[in-house]
Symmetry: C2
Subunit: 110 residues, 2 copies
DNA sequence: CCCTTAATTCGACACTTGTCGATACAGAGA
DNA sequence: TCTCTGTATCGACAAGTGTCGAATTAAGGG
């Protein structure tokens, strides 16, 4: 298992990143590089059941369109996935991507 | 040991980030959110002896002033430290910060 | 001193990003 | 079908970012 993680990348301390890998990984880090986005991500990640409705997490001090915009960015970066169920849209964390980032930074895969 | 790491933060999956912690951590992720910067960081981190002279790592496809600019950003984010020795300036990774990010993403501290 | 090499700082500019209000879309119920 | 609530998209704009060439500082060697 975890083939996708193995694909990219070993810890930064062990080998130099290729340009392509750097582009891929930088996009993920960039997605967490905004305080509002990081908080949204954190709210989803720590929410009971592993998923959260937008309505559960949208209290981060910015307007509703801005929340939606940031969630889209997190989705495009592959960090979150979304699913509509009835009126509500639920977001959940993509664990492989999270693990890949953690691994790159030198931690063990969770 | 690792008091600074413990100070910020437990894994995202275990608790929601405060606004202040989100600002602190987002700044670190942001620093790695550029491909050129991530490559520079990777080159320093994987360099023999745990440190690298600017001249060792400046071949990343952008001009030398741009390299210097990115290294400054990484320094300001606390990810790298620098020291001048004679003509050359050496950069090295700050391990606590790296560990804090990895921990936040759910990996074990390295 | 002057010259050479290493690295940073400066000034400028195109491009990206975060934010908002207004608007549109989706589903559930009356 | 009309309305209400939840979410996404649009259009606009100020602020931030990555990049460069030119100029500057730092250190060493003639």
């Amino acid at each position: 298992m975890q083939d996708e993680i193995a694909a990219c990348c070993p810890p930064v301390t062990s080998a130099e990143l290729s340009e392509t890998d750097a582009v891929r990984m930088a996009a993920m880090f960039k997605a967490l590089g905004d305080p509002v986005r990081l908080r949204l991500f954190s709210k989803v990640a720590s929410h009971a059941g592993g998923e959260a409705c937008v309505c559960d997490i949208q209290d981060v001090g910015v307007s509703q369109p801005t929340v939606s915009h940031h969630l889209k960015k997190l989705r495009e970066a592959g960090l979150l996935s979304s699913e509509r169920r009835g009126t509500w849209v639920y977001y959940r964390v993509e664990p492989q991507v999270l693990a890949a980032m953690s691994l790159l930074l030198g931690g063990s895969a969770s």
